[in-house]
Amino acid sequence: MSATFTKSMARNVFYGGGVFFFLLFLALTFDTMKVLPKRDNSQNITPAVAHGKKLWETNNCIGCHTLLGEGAYFAPELGNVYTRRGPDFIKAWIKGQPTGVPGRRQMPQFNLSDADIDDVVAFLKYASEINTNKWPPNIEG
């Protein structure tokens, strides 16, 4: 690099650039938070949804599944599972695990009560109604 561009100039560009783009990021974040209520389905967050989310987390569902495309890639996407499979299938599926089919990927039995499973389903229904800009491309997730 040329000698006219000194180290202290480079340092100033670093500070200036870093601060400028972080502030821009904060501004975009601020705007995002403002418009989010129109998209994030938060009006449908009930105590059941909140409890369902907690069960989702404390059973580490994300360790195998994706949710809106984020998580592990070992098991199906669950952001749209409510529309793909419907509530009854989901409940029966969770209760019926593990399948024990030799060689197949196995989902653990989490010993949830019926009320708990209802809350997990409520959470998945809430998640399925978030405006994700039409992702995933089709029902298979």
Binding site: M1, A10, N60, E70
Partner: protein, 458 residues
């Protein structure tokens, strides 16, 4: 070594390598579970193996960063470490906390672990990479603060260089952004939005500052190129990192409920994220070409050049592959993401820590460089691990492309599990490459025990 207190780095490096081995073993378990679904079930379900695999990665890299800074900061500052005792205490606290956490994952159902560790007080668990129980998370904050304090105090009492400044800033950012792991709103969109403030702003932001500083330090040492030149490069590279990487966070906001305008911000800025990595490659090769000395530690030079190339391929090229919104629409959350994740973490962060260890460990053991035979073995391990990881990424890329086609683009889309059956050949191949990686790692560990005539200091 020049300063006695640098010796604490050795503990950190040994722990890092040990945990790295653990990470790879769990990776192989998971790789097999992809094709033999009930392997080790129910003793170690996939989600548990994955937590161990990813958490060990984070912890061993942090051990590596800490060890590296305890080694390089005294030398940069030309003074003893502020408190070697604090560094040693922090080491044992972190190691114990890490070990207890991993044992907790393995021995206790996750829901019980959550209940016993106070997750009801503050829900923070059960999110990808942030699975740690609350006490562990608090421990990580304390360890990071103790590390930062020790380093900053050392810098303040000695010479202030660009390398130590950039490293300290990176550590500060690491500590600050981790605090977002304590914020977990019920609103899933906000949860995901700020989750990335830890994950993205770490690996595509502040960690790159730490990476740049470590690489610059080793390059000065092994090439003897003028510090002014190296540090100017460092500033320019990390400027590009922050300019592209901060707004680049937007490439995670396409499909999680955030406004659609992030598709533009995220695509444009993250498409530029390879630039700092490309500059890093040019920088490293330039410095080595202009070297003013032949350092006897040839292995360290190889690791340093390897870092710059593999970071560009993994983080830069493989990231670019699926970062544009119209492409990401189809690839989001598939094996392509896994391919990028593996090559990027290995290329940028695993390799820079191994670079630092390769340079510093011989010095810590009282010589300028290891015996020729040990270095040859180390270089073999570099090639085996690097090529194996490259093939892991290639196989996962193949798996991802077929997955995207069968599940998301085909006129008759197949279900997730049906697709997984179709792509099992890629998973078998990946597992094979994983075994080669393990051989490389064992060879690496073995290289520390090769005896012979080592290079004395000049």
């Amino acid at each position: 070594m020049k300063y006695k207190s640098q010796a604490v780095a050795k503990l950190y490096f040994i722990a890092a390598i040990g945990l790295f081995l653990g990470q790879i073993l769990f990776g192989l378990i998971m790789g097999l579970q992809y094709v033999v679904g009930d392997f080790l079930f129910p003793a170690i379900p996939f989600n548990v193996a994955r937590m161990v695999h990813t958490n060990l990665l984070i912890v061993w890299l942090l051990f590596g960063f800490m060890g590296a800074s305890y080694y390089l900061i005294p030398e940069e500052s030309e003074t003893e470490l502020f408190s070697p005792k604090l560094a040693i205490i922090t080491f044992w606290v972190f190691l114990a906390a890490g070990a207890i956490t991993v044992l907790g994952y393995l021995l206790v159902p996750y829901a019980s672990l959550a209940k016993w560790t106070g997750n009801d007080l503050l829900n923070t668990m059960g999110r990808e990479f942030l699975e740690q129980p609350l006490p562990t998370k608090v421990g990580i904050v304390l360890v990071a603060l103790s590390w930062l304090f020790n380093i900053v105090m050392t810098v303040l009492k000695g010479r202030k260089t660009a390398i130590s400044l950039v490293l300290s800033l990176g550590m500060l950012g690491l500590a600050v952004f981790f605090l977002f792991s304590f914020y977990n709103p019920v609103n899933l969109v906000k949860d995901k939005f700020y989750w990335w403030w830890v994950v993205h702003l770490w690996v595509e932001g502040v960690w790159e500052l730490i990476l740049g500083a470590m690489l610059a330090f080793v390059l000065i040492k092994v090439t003897g190129v003028d510090r002014e030149v190296v540090e100017k490069w460092l500033y320019v590279i990390i400027t590009m990192t922050l300019v592209t990487g901060i707004i680049g966070t937007g490439h995670h906001y396409f499909w999680i409920g955030a406004p659609a305008y992030w598709q533009w911000w995220g695509s444009v800025f993250s498409a530029l994220e390879p630039i700092p990595f490309l500059m890093m490659t040019i920088f490293a090769f330039n410095m080595v070409n202009k070297r003013r000395r032949e350092h006897p530690n040839k292995a360290a030079v190889l690791w340093a050049l390897g870092t710059s190339v593999m970071a560009f391929l993994g983080a830069g090229l493989w990231g670019f592959l699926h970062t544009l919104a119209p492409i990401n629409y189809y690839t989001h959350g598939t094996q392509l993401t896994a391919a990028h994740g593996h090559l990027a973490f290995f290329g940028a962060y695993a390799l820079v820590v191994l670079t630092m260890i390769s340079y510093a460990m011989p010095v810590l053991r009282g010589r300028a460089a290891n015996p020729e035979r040990a270095q040859i073995m180390e270089m073999w391990s570099f090639w085996l691990m690097t090529i194996a990881m490259f093939f892991i990424a290639l196989f996962l890329t193949g798996a991802g492309i077929v997955q995207v086609w069968l599940q998301r683009m085909s006129p008759t889309p197949m279900s997730f599990m049906a697709v997984q059956d179709q792509i099992s050949i890629f998973y078998w191949a990946r597992e094979g490459a994983g075994l080669v990686f393990l051989i490389g790692l064992l060879l690496y560990i073995g290289s520390f025990f090769v005896k012979g005539e080592s290079h004395a200091f000049e």
